[in-house]
């Protein structure tokens, strides 16, 4: 990630480079004077392997006509490379402004990053973008390393095809809530793996589940969502906070409601296996 403007009197800009697309996060008032900086700075960046560009304007309060013209020119330039520009998270006043100026076809707006990825044909509605999933997987690995000194290794991402394919005895469950989609993340453990994790977290030697340590399943899932949310919201997913729950029951699984995609990621550790499940429903 690069912060291209260092001066606090200028709008802020951050460029996030991902495999299939770029995210440009703009914030502050986009005045006539700063449009020149855009011209000089971003054309050089957009000279790298050509990719679709998503501009996150959640923190933009006003946009000058000069900026709008620059964005239109950028769209034209990108289309010359068979790429496109899509704007996300624009406030209602600016959405209306773009429509009033007759620019909605040249500056298409999506309500969320996920919608933009679908609109740009980068993912289908039924797919989960790997860039959405990876922050969760990194968070799981990081949380277990820090909190329990356990090294967790993900063993591939697979699409869930049926209930019961993976089952656990104790699970942390937390909702993924944003303005444009809903979802859920589950981290599910066999009893012994869970006890081993908790014992390492607390430096104790529990041999069976109880109310106190069960809450650890929810807590781990909560911290994972918190960490992943930081990365994902920086890109424009707009995920909100939620309260986690614990599900306990021998060999339980989860049925998915809705038609969105669900992925399963099994993990191996030196204290036993567990799995994570991430699903979305629009």
């Amino acid at each position: 990630m690069n912060n291209l403007f260092g001066d606090k009197n200028l709008p802020e800009c951050k460029l996030i480079s991902l495999d299939e697309y770029l995210i440009l996060k703009l914030s502050g008032p986009l005045t006539k004077e700063t449009a020149t900086l855009f011209e000089d700075e971003f054309r050089s960046i957009l000279g790298e392997p050509h990719r679709n560009l998503i501009i996150n304007m959640e923190s933009v309060l006003e946009v000058s006509k000069t900026w709008l013209r620059r964005l239109v020119q950028l769209q034209v330039d990108l289309r010359g490379f068979n790429c496109k520009l899509q704007i996300i998270l624009l406030n209602e006043i600016l959405v209306k402004r773009i429509k009033d100026e007759g620019l909605e076809r040249l500056l298409p707006i999506s309500k969320s990053l996920r919608d933009a990825l679908v609109d740009l044909n980068i993912v289908s509605r039924k797919q989960l973008d790997v860039n959405f999933v990876n922050p969760f997987l990194h968070a799981i690995v990081h949380v277990l390393q820090i909190e329990a000194k356990i090294k967790a290794q993900p063993e591939g991402i697979r699409l869930k095809t049926r209930k019961g394919e993976f089952a656990g005895d104790i699970s942390g469950v937390i909702g993924i809530i944003s303005n444009s989609f809903r979802g859920m993340i589950v981290i599910s453990f066999p009893t012994q793996t869970f006890l081993n994790v908790i014992n390492k977290m607390l430096g104790e030697n529990h041999t069976e589940l109880n109310d106190e340590i069960e809450s650890g399943a929810a807590e781990l899932t909560n911290i994972v969502l918190g960490l992943a949310k930081n990365t994902l919201n920086d890109r424009g997913y707009g995920i909100k906070s939620a309260l986690p729950s614990v599900v306990r029951g021998e060999n339980h699984g989860f049925s998915q409601l809705g038609s969105g995609p669900t992925i399963i990621v099994p993990f191996q550790t030196d204290v036993g296996p567990f799995y994570a499940e991430i699903c979305l429903s629009d």
Partner: protein
């Protein structure tokens, strides 16, 4: 007052989370530690404490009453406004962190942490706030 005698309140809706924080505080030398399950419970514990609470370490997102609501209550009360308040949270939202600072938290420790990280962050917060406990 030695650290072992400093009255501390740990607030979190999850029992395991409270235990983790308590273990970290014990590693720092605290031993007079009480617990509460949410902001309302925490306020009751503060008001009813036989020995005045000096330090509160609280989670942010809790059912019924949040850590933010608790710190606002503490800072609004003449009797309790000087309590040292440390927020412990998985919440990384910059706007919410700004809300916490505006509400008067002395510092924020992000989850995940281990005992060493907690200790370092805790001491940084006290140093930055020029607070000496114990």
């Amino acid at each position: 007052m030695e650290l072992a005698k400093v009255p501390v309140l740990v607030v979190d809706d999850m029992a395991l989370s409270r235990k983790r924080v308590i273990n970290c505080l014990k590693d720092l030398g605290f031993s007079d530690i009480r617990e509460a399950q949410d902001g309302d419970d925490g306020w009751t514990a503060i008001v009813n404490a036989e020995r005045p609470i000096v330090l509160v370490v609280s989670d942010w997102n809790m059912p019924h009453s949040s850590g933010l609501e608790l710190v606002l209550k503490i800072r609004a009360d003449e009797k309790y406004k000087s309590i040292v308040f440390v927020m412990v949270t998985a919440e990384g939202d910059a706007i919410k962190k700004t809300d916490a600072v505006k509400a008067g938290v002395n510092g924020i420790i992000n989850k995940p942490f281990d005992s060493q990280i907690f200790s370092e962050k805790f001491n940084e917060i006290l140093s930055a706030s020029k607070i000496k406990l114990g």
